[in-house]
Every structure is written in structure tokens, then in C-alpha cells.
Amino acid sequence: MNARPLRVAIVGCGAAAERLHAPALAALASAGEVDVVALCDPDAARAASLAAVFPRAAACTELERVAAIGPDLAIVASPAALHAAQSSSLLDAGVHVLCEKPVAASTADAARMVAAAERAHRLLAVGLIRRFFPSARLVHDLVASGRFGALESASILETGGFHWPFRSAAAFVPRLTPGGILLDLGVHVLDLLAWWFPGVRVAAYQDDAMGGAEATAVATCEVGRARVTVRLSRDWPMPGRYELRFEHGRIVWDGVDPVSVQVDYALPADADVEFSAAGVPARSWDDCFRAQLENVVAAVRGESPLVVSGVDAMTSLSLVEECYRTRSLLASPWFGADEMSAARGLASERVAQ
């Protein structure tokens, strides 16, 4: 262990900071690895709420105050449209950044963040947490082993966010969050797809935004000649299901279980596949967030490479952008003819923005 704990600031004290990052920070603080020194949120009550967990941290409402306090690392967990300006400002001030997903509202913004990190010789890590799931790592290693043969087809269904304890309506304010389920949840799914299957591309995309943010999105992607259908919804809850069908096997996962996947494949007796997942001591989401923070702390100390850098995160964000660029209206089949006509008009207005 280093002599000095890493000084950490939290920028954006909403539900993600409170529910996901704070337990990891508290665990590493107990181990003497980090010291939370600043809590920043435009809503002073939110910063004060987290101060109950980190009483020695200074609570503030202005980002400039964070820079003045001089943390080593900032966790940026604010609304997506603020990520670029806040992260770049912190990087320019010499602060390493772990930015929540999506890394930014656009790849152009993300590129500016990456450039700021390079200019300042600081790290830009991105909170694509599922890369820390032993289950997702196992899928990665199984696919990379080549034992399953080529991917033939895949279907992914994920729904979520119905009971997420948002502390504000920012996730539904377009100037703060310029997208819906695709930008929020889809960026995780597309990141996994791009990690498991480099070269994945978007073939078609539909969503149900009618002047606002999509609640249901359907992307058709291609991996070689295999078609991958991704269906995302925060309109209706359904059990998540990833079904990846290969030449010689099948993998089924629910998308949120950090530990378990179902694998239908009889390994030959001489199989020499090594699974890195076996070595990851994570059993829960909290464990995964702790593993993510440990990775970032180790990377800041020069002891380990980042698992997910800003550059890594740009791949999934560019797939999201490609979806939005090619979007068409996902028909709601219960609409009457007059509703469908109006919906088409409203959907095209959004594209024109």
C-alpha cells in the first residue's frame, strides 16, 4: 500500500454516486487507499447528504472549488451533457478522472476529454462497470478462445431503470441528458458487444422517441455475417436475456448477474481454455464497483493499466451515435392511424434537431 491515500472528489452527488460509488469509496477509505476530500453538486442538499458518509469531505456547489481543494482523482457522476466540460476542466487542473458512462454526450466531446487527458498527462477512466463483471469477462474469454466457432446470431433484451432512485429529473431533461434508454443502458450493452466482438457494426436502428427521449430502442447489429438484435426498454419490465448462438455452442446471460452465465458447450477433455474471470474476486455489484475503483487507483499509482479508458469508451459511444444518426420510428402497434401519423411527424422533428 502507498504511504498516502489517494485524495478523491465526487462531482455529482446523485443516485449513482450515493448507491454505487460511495460504498466502494467507503471500503477503500477503510483500507487506507483513498480519502474523500470533496463533494460537489449544484444542489447543496445532495452534497450535504453524501457528507454524512464522508464527514471530512468539503461539500461545495462549484466545480472551481473542487480544483482548489486539489484532489488526485475525481469521480464525475453528473448528467451526461456535463461530463465533457467538467472532466476536461478537472483534467486541465491536473486531476485524474473516473467519469461515469456515457463518457460524454457525443464522440466529439469525448475526443476533447481524451485530448485533455493526454495534454495534462492524467488518466481518463470510464465507468463501464460491466467490464468488471466476472460473468461478462467469462463471456469475453469464451468468445476469444475461439472454441465456440463463429457467432451465428444473437438476441439481447434488457429493460431497466423503473425503480432507479434518481435524485432529480436530470435524466429526462434533454439539455442535460440528450438521449434515452440507448444512451443510458444501451451504451453498456454496445460496449460489451464491441468488447466481445470487435468490429461489430450497426445495420439498423429504431426507437419510440416522438419529440423526446426514447423509452424503447431496437438496434440490429452485425458481427461478420451474424445478426445481433438488441432490444432495450424502460417502458415495460421484462427479464433480461442475452442469447449468443455460435457454431458449436450457446451462451445465455441475464445481463445483470455479475457472476453467473449459462454455457451450453461440452468442453473436450484436452481443453486448455483459461478463464480470467476465475481470478476476479467479485460476487456482487458492490464488489464490481470496488474492483473498478481499485483498478483506477492502481492505474493512477502506475501499478496497473486502466481496464476502461476514455479511448475504449469511444467505441460504444460511436455506435450509439450511429444508431441515432440512422434512426427511424419504432411503431407502437396499438396506435390508431391518426396517432401513427402524428408520431411520424414528431419523430422526424427530433431527427431534424
Binding site: L157, T159, G161, F162, H163, W164, P165, F166, R167, S168, A169, A171, F172, G180, I181, D208, A209, M210, G211, G212, A213, E214, A215, T216, R231, S233, R234, D235, W236, M238, S332, P333, W334, F335, G336, D338, E339, A342, A343, L346
Partner: protein
């Protein structure tokens, strides 16, 4: 007309936002309690507000600038009864002219006596706390209206079905899980109303002058049985309708102590007393009620690991022998269903496909 929709994330509320906005019927303002509940309304560029249905000042702020209110907020019995007065007071202060309250035909029970009409006297001796809470809520609306303020129209639908309806989704879930059942051969009357028919009635209730102060049953034109309701959903999912469990016997349901206490708690007299009871005492009483384990009302589910688990609500519904008449709505509002039940079912099944159910 600018219409505030309280409870805009529910099944009827979501459809009301969609349909009224897209058809231009009303300028809608969705109101929900939690940010996560904004997801469906956020598909549109609307002025969606956050407000707790029990908080009059929050509601007044959310209602300001609107002309009318569609009250769809629901929840536990306390929320059902407790959300009437704040909404009425907030609507009065915000200058709203009319409120349409979606009550329920279950104020007459799930299996109303043949001959039941809107004027049939209500009582609060139902075995289901929800029914009693809806009775209490209707009585509260009646009391409040006498003081003046916004006009109130009460609609009493029964089995409202359509996209995102629990009747359709639960039926599909149960069929797929092998848990679906019908009592007495599924011959009981299923008092359906397709959601678009209910919204058609809402439009009329908001705009027809002589609707003010009235209470109306609303329903579909067709008379169907519960078997006829389940059958097309089963077929769409590839489940043989003949495989649905037919139950001749169901457990004797008696109201448990907890249910009786909850019913009592939702009365206006007890609500009045509770407002003057110290919070600590209320917490102790609540913990005692929730900790109560009623030994007599255990359904079959507690004795069987899987398979049908009949509930009191379904046991009563499946024995219904009376199609609730909407003749009063027809005469006063000019209400006529605009979507046949079969078409409503077709659209509901298309929604199941949209939501990711394995529709064949």
C-alpha cells in the same frame, strides 16, 4: 383545454398521455411522483412535472395553468383515499374547472349483484381493502363537491385492458409459467373496457356540460366471459387454452385481521384521527399491523410450490354474473364504445409482442 394527468405513468395514464397528445385532443401535462416514472411521458416533448399525490402544495404548483384534471393516481388504500382531498384543494386553488376521477366498478365488489346500477348503494364491508378505499374516495369527492370548486365526474370502469395493462401482462405471465387458472369454467362475465374506450369516456366526461357531478359505469359493448378473455392471449403465446387449469374449488377467503385493519385505516374518521396521532405511535401501530400473520387466509400457493394460486380478487371476478350497464353514460355523455373488444385484444397482443413476449 390544458389537461393535467395525475398518475401519468400508470397503464391508463401512459395511454392517456400518448393518445391525447398525438391526436391533439388535449394539451397534456403529465404528473408523476418519481423521476424514474417520467420515462414513458419523456418520449414526447411535454412539460412533465413531479408531484406527490398526497401533497397539496406540490399538486397546486403542478396544476397551475391547467383547465382540468384527470385523476388516475392510485396505490395502497391510504393513497387512494388520501389523494382525493389534496387534489381537490389544489385544483380549487389552481382554478381548474373540472376533475375526472377514475374510480372502479369494484365499489360494488368484483362480482356485483345482478341488477346493480350506479345508484345501487355502496358499502364498506368488502373483503378487499381496495374496494373499500375506492368507496371512501368516492364519498370524499361527493363531500368536497358540495362546497363548490371544480366540477367532479366519476367514471367506474371494471376490467380495463390494453397495452401495459396488468390484466393482459399478468395473464400472459401466468400462461407462460403454467400458473393460469379459471374458476367455474371461466364462464363468469368479464366486464372489460378497452383502454381507448375508457379514454373516449374521459374525453366526454371532460367536455360534456351535463356530466358535472355524475357517476358513470363505462364498458365495452360486447359481453365476454373470462375464458373468452384468456383464450386469444393463450393462443398468441402458443399455449393451448385447454391446458388452463379449471378450478372447481377455491379456498374459503375470509378477511384477515390485517385487511380489516387496513380497511378501517382508510376511513375518513380514522384518517382524521391519524393526522393528530404522534408519528412514533403511528409507526408502532403500523409495525404491529404489518407484523400480523393471519393464519386463516392462506391461499393454495402456500401449500403448493407452483401452479395456480387463486386470489380472492380473481375468485370473485370469475364468478361475476352481471354485465355492468353503461346506459347512463350513453344517455348523459353520449358514450358509445369506439373499439370492439376483439380489436382491443388484437392491439393488446401486438403490444405483448412489442414488449418482448414470445408472441407467435
Amino acid at each position: 383545454m390544458k389537461l393535467a394527468i395525475l398518475g401519468a405513468n400508470g397503464f391508463v395514464g401512459s395511454r392517456a398521455v400518448e393518445q391525447f397528445h398525438l391526436t391533439g385532443a388535449f394539451d397534456v401535462r403529465p404528473i408523476v411522483r418519481r423521476p424514474a416514472a417520467m420515462a414513458r411521458a419523456a418520449r414526447f416533448n411535454l412539460d412533465c412535472r413531479l408531484a406527490d399525490a398526497l401533497d397539496a402544495p406540490q399538486l397546486e404548483e403542478a396544476f397551475r395553468g391547467c383547465d382540468a384534471l384527470l385523476h388516475l393516481a392510485t396505490g395502497d388504500p391510504r393513497t387512494i383515499t388520501g389523494s382525493v382531498r389534496p387534489a381537490f384543494e389544489a385544483a380549487t386553488r389552481a382554478g381548474l374547472r373540472r376533475i375526472v376521477y377514475i374510480s372502479s366498478a369494484s365499489v360494488h365488489g368484483q362480482a356485483p349483484e345482478p341488477g346493480t346500477v350506479e345508484e345501487t348503494p355502496l358499502h364498506r364491508r368488502h373483503l378487499i381493502a381496495y374496494n373499500n378505499a375506492k368507496v371512501e374516495a368516492e364519498r370524499e369527492w361527493q363531500r368536497l363537491q358540495r362546497r363548490g370548486g371544480p366540477e367532479v365526474v366519476v367514471l367506474r370502469p371494471a376490467v380495463v385492458f390494453g397495452p401495459r395493462s396488468r390484466w393482459v401482462a399478468s395473464c400472459a405471465d401466468d400462461l407462460l409459467a403454467g400458473r393460469a387458472y379459471l374458476i367455474e369454467g371461466g364462464r363468469g362475465v368479464c366486464n372489460t373496457i378497452y383502454v381507448d374506450n375508457l379514454l373516449h369516456a374521459v374525453r366526454l366526461a371532460l367536455t360534456v356540460p351535463q356530466a358535472a357531478g355524475g357517476t358513470f359505469f363505462v364498458g365495452d359493448r360486447e359481453r365476454i366471459t373470462w375464458l373468452e378473455f384468456y383464450r386469444p392471449i393463450a393462443r398468441a403465446l402458443g399455449v393451448d387454452p385447454d391446458s388452463i387449469a379449471m378450478l372447481d374449488r377455491v379456498p374459503e377467503f375470509r378477511p384477515g385481521v390485517r385487511e380489516r385493519l387496513q380497511s378501517l385505516k382508510s376511513t375518513s374518521a380514522v384518517q382524521f384521527a391519524l393526522r393528530r396521532t404522534p408519528a412514533r405511535l403511528k409507526r408502532s401501530v403500523k409495525a404491529a399491523i404489518e407484523g400480523w400473520r393471519a393464519p386463516a387466509a392462506a391461499p393454495i400457493a402456500s401449500r403448493r410450490a407452483a401452479g395456480p394460486a387463486p386470489t380472492l380478487e380473481m375468485a370473485l371476478l370469475h364468478r361475476c354474473a352481471w354485465q355492468l350497464p353503461w346506459t347512463k353514460a350513453a344517455a348523459t355523455l353520449g358514450y358509445e364504445p369506439i373499439v370492439p373488444t376483439a380489436e382491443g385484444m388484437r392491439r393488446s397482443i401486438e403490444w405483448l409482442r412489442f414488449a418482448g413476449y414470445p408472441v407467435q
